[in-house]
């Protein structure tokens, strides 16, 4: 057997390789260098992530195809989601340096964990087979569990980590079982072959396939924090170090959405066979209900939160709901755009929160923000912009991404217009709690004991990048939208090379 037939083409997984190798290098450097080489770790990590970003862009030049016996694919979904994942990782790496210094935490492990988590997410975004989906998901999840508990001496951080681990394992079991049943029904774990089996009606036990899909919805639903599988989110987000929260809320979610799209939107898309149609209509119905529930629960509970991290945790639940609306259009582009916009504004908000919280996350109550508007104007205005963007006020990324998702859903899926209306009403509700911290910051008397935080150079770069991104996507989204709207048909016609 010749190697070429297996598609062993290592360039196809270049980003994953780069990021993993850099993770190992950082461990080595950390083991053999003196203390205080924190900056060096950050620089190596950033260099690795940027190299990976370049390799992702080069992958785009290879054209669509699948490699390693169909385990890995290259298609626009992978490209766009990988870019988002890497951007999130870059911002996290920029922020980590100051965070680790202020907290006095060991830098080496953090950066290597960040790299391994990123590798897992990239694999997830490029997975063409249920086995690689699972592999990527586990790599990303296990490293996230550790990162959530990174502040070892802090009880809240431990609690966060443990809860995430227990519930994550519980939900992974559903996902794995769902994959097993799907394999039993379709006779393959390769997503394209599963699609082909469904399209030709050659499914062993249709019931098995449907139950398999249901179980996978539970598994994926947990990872993207959709209702009613969302309960872990606020506790985990609140307890984890703020920067980890920011990263967990964006990177893994983006990656899971990519895999979710590839399995459901592409794999279980509307096929011509009876079982194909049945499967498609069923999951669309269920996910539409889940989307409506998710945004409503996320937004409504967010209103009564007193802690800004918890509030943003519920906000992230709500945003997963909006992204699901895009998911149901059958096109990946609205989701990809939405997740990119969400990642940028959410990371920006968490960056400011981390700075204001000070070491040990002491000040994360909204009451702690009273009157700081004119004491720390740069930070307060940045936070206000990120919150307004999350609320979907033009001319920010948040507005444009919502507009894009809602407009596409309204045009392409007339039967789901009710869901668009629910989403619009939800965005109106959400304005209330996003404005609340802004009101507190600018119109309340100054809270005693406020110390203006120091902003390190790398943190400043991260803030500027996220701010620019928020406005760029809000004002000039067209280039990206055009790039994304390459016909999704290409995605389904990949041949095994």
């Amino acid at each position: 057997m010749q190697l070429e037939n297996l598609g062993l083409y290592y360039w196809a997984i270049a980003p994953e390789i780069i990021v993993s190798v850099v993770g190992v290098i950082i461990m080595m450097v950390d083991a053999f260098s003196s203390r205080g080489a924190r900056k060096l770790n950050a620089v190596i990590a950033l260099a690795g992530l940027i190299a990976a970003l370049v390799s992702v862009v080069m992958l785009d030049g290879l054209g669509s195809g699948s490699y390693f016996s169909g385990m890995v694919v290259i298609d626009p979904i992978r490209i766009f989601f990988s870019v988002t994942i890497l951007l999130a990782a870059i911002v996290a790496a920029l922020l980590a340096s100051q965070f680790l210094k202020d907290e006095g935490l060991p830098p080496g492990e953090f950066f290597s964990l960040l790299m391994f988590a990123t590798a897992g997410m990239l694999l997830l975004a490029g997975a063409g087979d249920l086995v690689t989906v699972f592999l990527g998901l586990e790599i990303a999840s296990i490293t996230s569990y550790v990162m959530a508990g990174y502040r070892r001496y802090d009880l809240r951080s431990n609690e966060s980590s443990l809860k995430y681990f227990l519930l994550g394992s519980f939900s992974t079991a559903f996902l794995l079982y769902g994959m097993a049943l799907t394999y039993g029904a379709a006779g393959s774990t390769n997503i394209q072959k599963i699609t082909a089996a469904i399209a030709s009606g050659q499914v062993n036990y249709p019931a098995l396939l449907l139950i398999g899909a249901a179980l996978m919805i539970v598994g994926f639903g947990f990872k993207i924090a959709s209702a009613p599988f969302h309960l872990w989110t606020p506790d985990v987000y609140e307890g984890a170090p703020t920067i980890v929260t920011g990263f967990m809320g964006t990177g893994p979610k983006v990656a899971v959405f990519a895999a979710f799209i590839r399995v459901f939107v592409i794999g279980f898309g509307p096929q011509d066979s009876e079982i194909g149609i049945q499967l498609h209509t069923t999951w669309v119905t269920v996910l539409a209900v889940i989307a409506a529930l998710t945004m409503t629960i996320g937004n409504v509970i967010a209103i009564s939160q007193k802690n800004i991290k918890r509030m943003l945790a519920y906000s992230s639940i709500a945003h997963a709901g909006y992204a699901l609306v895009g998911f149901l259009t059958g096109d990946f582009a609205p989701v990809a755009f939405y997740m990119l916009a969400y990642s940028i504004m959410s990371l920006g908000a968490f960056a400011v929160i981390q700075l204001l919280a000070r070491a040990g996350d002491q000040r994360t109550e909204i009451a702690d923000y009273a009157g700081i508007g004119f004491e720390a104007p740069a930070l307060s205005f940045s936070l206000a912009i990120f919150l307004l963007s999350l609320a979907g006020i033009p001319p920010t990324a948040g507005f444009m991404s919502k507009f894009y998702v809602f407009k596409t859903a309204w045009d392409m899926t007339p039967e789901l217009r009710w869901l668009v209306l629910v989403a619009v009403i939800n965005s109106i509700i959400s304005v209330y709690y996003y404005l609340y911290p802004i009101v507190v910051m600018f119109f309340r008397p100054l809270v005693p004991g406020f110390i203006k935080p120091r902003i390190a150079g790398m943190t400043m770069i991260a803030l500027i990048l996220t701010l620019l991104g928020t406005f760029y996507l809000g004002i000039m989204p067209n280039r990206l939208m055009n790039a994304m709207s390459r016909p999704p048909a290409v995605v389904t016609q990949i041949t095994v090379k």
Partner: protein, 683 residues
């Protein structure tokens, strides 16, 4: 090139906004004025060297900045368009704007927020130019909201004065009501025509061109065109202070006087007229909407003029005068004489900016006194201000051959001769407009007489006021004084423009050739009646040409000019009569008590308080507040939010903090999802 006209003031605003705090006044003023000067120069160059040489039917210059978004069939570009209509606007916006910027460097001298003021003022110029140069309704709306924001910031500029804050809020809220109409209209335009652009894009003709091919909706018929036209007009009533949304403009005088001159007289408030003229192709399809616009315009004109008679604050008089003159402009649009409306916009920009700046000079010279009852005899102390304001006063009163005379006379004549409205309406509206012209001359004369003529009524009372008053910055008490050169030079320039500005549009009846009207004609739709509307052919050549080959203008050729001349003579007579009455009464008895009803502005504010604001407050306080939760609520908005917060608290109980409970919820959710799939499988 077009984009630099727009961007130059933005650059000025950015520089002053970022580093203005550290610069000295001279430099800030220089940056602000220079940025507007660049824009003015470019505007004149583009207008005279690029737009004018084009053949009349093809006078459109477009410039694509970038595509904002294009989702599905919805497309919005950041693109600019210069045609005769926007050309006229940019000339007087940049020209008058530049003069006011120069004036403001003198007027705002010594103000602690100097850089903030000029940042806002430059930002306003940027937004206003975006508004008039936009090539589609969405970009126009960006400018529309932008000028609203700047207006809000500048009305509330004196942050330490409560009335300024209240006035800013009032302007903001009132304008939102109008904007709501605009947004619905924009949505309807998109649904109806599949385009919101004024020019053709991607082979889709602009909506104005499409509208031109539609049949006219008969009077009283409520079709889609009537709906769009009326909703656009709702937007216009907000921005241009027409009944019933005019209440914010007089209060807006709480802002610095240059702002009143630039934003609340010359430019922003005429945006509504611009919108109506821009969309004239839609408006002329609906005689119903035109009648509404004409009646509201005429009613506003006379209503505000009567209030203007009894005001004692010099800026309030001018504010009501502005409302009244804006009414004239809408009357012109309503009777189908859009070009006459735009003509009046331009001449009004000259003489009203002049009057406002003059009043600013008076206020400055009187050490922040605004009450004309406490002035008098100022002509001795402020000769230049007096001489220049004379020009403005005579222009607005319709003194023959001054700018206001031509434009106002054109509106009066077109109203009389209109073919757009059912028979008799034109004559009745002409009556209202002519009476308004008389009143205008009276109240303007009253203001001039009380300010500049008669005995000096300041002195002891003035000083007493001063001690308790708000002016600590000037420091030099005493006699009124003439203003510095940076203030009177713009006055002089505007005075010249107020005198000769009307000469571009001398009507045929008076031996002119009305260049102005012919210049604007290609972009303005002609009035059609239901009969000839069907026969109209769409104009093919020019992309933005909405002109339709309708039959000859009703006002031209058909009538012999004797009626027109007679009416002109009559309006001249009314002007002189008004000035005579004004002098006769107020020179003898300057402090004559005016009717209380007028002095209190017909109690409109009180009526709104009682009829709109009161009930809302009442409901929120006595119903929602007490029903929902008394302890935590601050007001109405929070009341609604409380409902959700209650629900939120309820739902929060699901968040126990125990991992086992979470697992149980996940399990229940999983069982429901699996059961549903199982049910489908078993079916």
């Amino acid at each position: 090139m077009l984009k630099w006209i727009i961007l130059a003031p933005l650059i000025g605003a950015i520089i002053n906004g970022l580093v203005g705090k550290r610069l000295n006044e001279r430099l800030i003023g220089l940056i602000a004025c220079a940025s507007v000067a660049v824009s003015t120069a470019l505007a004149f160059i583009v207008f005279f060297t690029q737009l004018l040489p084009l053949p009349a039917e093809k006078r459109v210059i477009t410039e694509h900045f970038f595509t904002w978004l294009s989702v599905g069939n919805f497309r919005a570009d950041f693109a600019y368009m210069l045609d005769p209509l926007s050309g006229v606007y940019i000339l007087f916006i940049t020209g008058v704007g530049l003069l006011i910027h120069i004036y403001a460097t003198g007027y705002m001298h010594g103000d602690p927020g100097f850089y903030r003021f000029f940042t806002y003022l430059n930002l306003f110029m940027f937004m206003m130019l975006t508004l008039v140069l936009a090539d589609n309704l969405l970009v126009l709306f960006v400018g529309w909201e932008g000028v609203g924001l700047c207006s809000y910031l500048l009305i509330g500029y004196y942050i330490d004065r409560k009335e300024a804050g209240d006035a800013a809020k009032k302007a903001f809220v009132t304008n939102r009501v109008g904007d709501f109409g605009y947004m619905i209209a924009m949505f309807m335009v998109f649904v109806t025509f599949g385009s919101i652009s004024f020019v053709a894009k991607d082979g889709v003709p602009g909506f104005l061109e499409q509208a031109a091919t539609r049949p006219v909706e008969a009077f009283g018929v409520f079709g889609i065109m009537t709906g769009i036209a009326l909703l656009l007009f709702v937007g216009a009533t907000g921005k241009s202070a027409q009944i019933p949304l005019f209440v914010w403009l007089p209060d807006a005088m709480a802002g610095p006087t240059p702002v009143s001159a630039l934003i609340h007289a010359a430019t922003m408030v005429t945006a509504g007229v611009y919108l109506t003229a821009r969309c004239s192709a839609v408006v002329v399809k609906s005689p119903t909407a035109m009648a509404v616009i004409a009646v509201i315009g005429a009613a506003t004109a006379i209503f505000a003029a009567t209030i203007g008679l009894a005001q004692n604050d010099i800026k309030k008089v001018l504010a009501y005068s502005t409302v009244s003159q804006l009414g004239y402009m809408f009357l012109a649009c309503g009777v189908g004489a859009f070009t006459a409306g735009i003509f009046h916009v331009m001449t009004h920009a000259f003489f009203k900016a002049l009057l406002f700046l003059g009043s600013g000079s008076v206020i400055h010279g009187m050490h922040e006194e605004q009450d004309i009852r406490k002035m008098g005899g100022l002509r001795k102390y402020m000769p230049i201000t007096f001489a220049t304001m004379m020009a403005g006063w005579l222009a607005i009163s319709g003194f023959p051959l001054l700018s206001g005379f031509f434009s106002k006379d054109e509106i009066l004549w077109q109203t009389w001769a209109t073919g757009a409205l059912p028979g008799g309406w034109g004559k009745a509206l002409w009556g209202v407009a002519a009476l308004t012209a008389l009143l205008t001359a009276v109240y303007m004369t009253r203001m001039m007489v009380l300010t500049f003529f008669g005995k000096e009524r300041f002195g002891a009372g003035h000083d007493a006021h001063h001690a308790a008053g708000h002016d600590e910055g000037h420091g030099h008490h005493g006699k009124p004084h003439e203003s510095p050169a940076s203030m009177w030079i713009p006055l002089a320039v505007l005075a010249v423009l107020s005198i000769v500005g009307g000469l571009v549009g001398i009507p045929k009846a008076l031996g002119g050739s009305n260049h102005f009207e012919h210049f604007l004609e290609p972009v303005i739709a002609r009035v059609q009646t239901a009969d000839n509307g069907h026969a109209v052919e769409p104009a093919e050549a020019a992309p933005a040409a909405v002109a339709t080959a309708a039959p000859a203008h009703p006002a031209e050729e058909v009538h012999d000019t004797s009626t027109e001349l007679a009416l002109t003579g009559l309006s001249v007579l009314l002007g002189f009569l008004g000035i005579g009455i004004g002098f006769g009464i107020f020179n003898r008895n300057p402090l004559k008590k005016m009717p209380t009803l007028l002095e209190n502005k017909y109690y409109v504010d009180e009526f709104y308080d009682a009829a709109v604001i009161g009930p809302i407050e009442h409901t929120s306080r006595d119903l929602l507040w007490k029903v929902v939760d008394v302890r935590i609520i601050d007001g109405f908005v929070n009341g609604v939010a409380r409902l959700f917060a209650g629900l939120s608290d309820l739902l929060r109980f699901t968040q126990t903090g125990y991992a086992r409970n979470y697992a149980a919820v996940i399990l229940i959710g999983a069982i429901i999802v699996i059961s549903y799939f199982g049910y489908i499988a078993a079916r």
